[in-house]
């Protein structure tokens, strides 16, 4: 998890990333999504996508450096997936990450839960 309410699912050297249930609730109904294109090189903290709700666009940042494998086209076509299934079908992009050390900066489930409970 990240402090900006993204979840990161690791599978070998691939990570799938989306926004958490907490984030989708804070955003409101999602009406527009942009996801990164395959084969794009990104650095951690680069803007890789956009989510729009209640006339507000929010930038989505990649927590990891690497190469984008795929952006979720389903979510672009059916934006409500982000609200209905933010941590499953509403995933935003997959990345082949290049720096394992960046994973250490992520929060585990317990720490993330603490973050939300503290009112962030």
């Amino acid at each position: 998890y990240t402090e900006s309410h993204e979840w990161v699912r690791i599978d070998g050297d691939t990570a799938t990333i989306g926004v958490t249930d907490y984030a989708q609730n804070a955003l409101g109904d999602v009406v527009y999504v942009e996801v990164p294109e395959a084969n794009t090189e990104v650095e951690a903290e680069d803007v890789v996508g956009i989510v729009e709700s209640v006339k507000s666009t929010s930038d989505i940042y990649s927590p990891l450096s690497g190469t984008i494998i795929e952006g979720n086209a389903n979510v672009v076509a059916n934006t409500k997936l982000v609200n209905k299934s933010p941590e499953a079908d509403g995933w935003l992009f997959k990345i082949k990450f290049s720096d394992k050390e960046q994973l250490d900066a992520l929060l585990d489930a317990t720490k993330y839960k603490q973050l939300i409970e503290d009112g962030h």
Binding site: D29, S53, S56, T57, S58, D59
Partner: protein, 302 residues
């Protein structure tokens, strides 16, 4: 969440005509917003920072856009250079939140989701009206900005205010509704149709914001004495069958054509409404943060 409506409009109008001061006291309670917390706890509400306001007069749109981009960049750099534990400490920062208020020369702007979607001949048609057309990264669709319209760009770091994006937007909508209520105009939010409406088809203010790392940019545009002819050239906000309206037209409709709804008259009302809705102090920016004030002034000067 709909805003409580004024129950007996006729009663208010007669009060306005005979007792201007009692009207003011009455209207403060009408929208029922005084106890709106935007989902914050009492403890959080007691910790909110002071926001600095500045009115810049008329600024060309592209110049204001560049100023906002640089201001956001500067604020994000300052906040995120601090270790996570220190980010909430306002004493460690030079830059404050700013409520930037201004007007623009005539311009049509569009939101992120419509990038590249307007046909070239359509853009040419708008240019032929002696108007610029600018695509931005904000939410929302096409709208018009021009003289007589009070544009507000609240530049807030949402975490200082314990605000989720949707609560921030709600706060902007309520601020406008509260401002309208001061003039005896009932304005509502309509679920699914962001903006502030004075009837099911008439929008008095448009909304569109951008959030980057919890720092906000863009904002709202309230029609005070805007010439509505500009809105008839487009489908505002992409909504068929809906139109824009100004405070001036509304006052005329309600039989009060001499009521001053110029941007100058609305400015102090809007500032007060913003402070009330967001639950924080709103003071002159040059006092709250000389650094922020200077930064903005440098970027918008001619």
């Amino acid at each position: 969440m709909a805003i409580a409506s004024i129950r007996n409009f006729g009663q208010i109008l007669s009060r306005v005509q005979s007792h201007p001061t009692t009207y003011r006291a009455f209207s403060a309670a009408t929208t029922g917003i005084s106890d709106c917390t935007l989902s914050r706890t009492a403890e959080q509400l007691s910790q909110l920072p002071t926001i600095g306001y500045v009115y810049l007069g008329e600024v060309p749109y592209r110049k204001a856009l560049e100023m906002q981009n640089q201001l956001c960049r500067r604020r994000i750099d300052e906040i995120y250079a601090l270790p996570q534990a220190d980010r909430a400490d306002l004493n460690l920062r030079q830059f404050s939140d700013a409520l930037i208020l201004l007007q623009h020369p005539p311009v049509y702007t569009n939101g992120r989701r419509n990038h590249g979607k307007l046909q070239p001949d359509e853009i040419e048609r708008l240019h032929a009206l002696d108007c610029d057309y600018v695509e931005t990264n904000r939410g929302g669709e096409i709208t018009f900005h021009g003289p007589g319209q009070l544009v507000g760009y609240p530049n807030l770091y949402l975490k200082d205010h314990f605000l989720a994006t949707k609560c921030f937007v709600k706060g902007l909508e309520y601020t406008i509704a509260e401002t309208c209520a001061h003039f005896g105009i009932e304005a509502k939010t309509i679920p699914g149709f962001p903006g502030v409406w004075t009837s099911p088809t008439q929008k008095v203010a448009a909304l569109g914001t951008h959030v980057q790392r919890y720092v906000t940019s863009h904002g709202f545009a309230l029609n005070c004495t805007t010439d509505m002819k500009w809105f008839r050239e487009i489908i505002p906000c992409g909504l068929e069958g809906k139109t824009a309206i100004s405070l001036q037209t509304l006052m005329e409709q309600h039989g009060k054509p001499n009521c001053d709804t110029s941007v100058d008259a609305v400015l102090p009302v809007l500032r007060q409404s913003f402070a009330k809705v967001f639950g924080c102090n709103v003071k002159p920016l040059e006092d709250v943060s000389p650094a922020t004030f200077k930064f903005i002034q440098e970027l918008v000067k001619l």
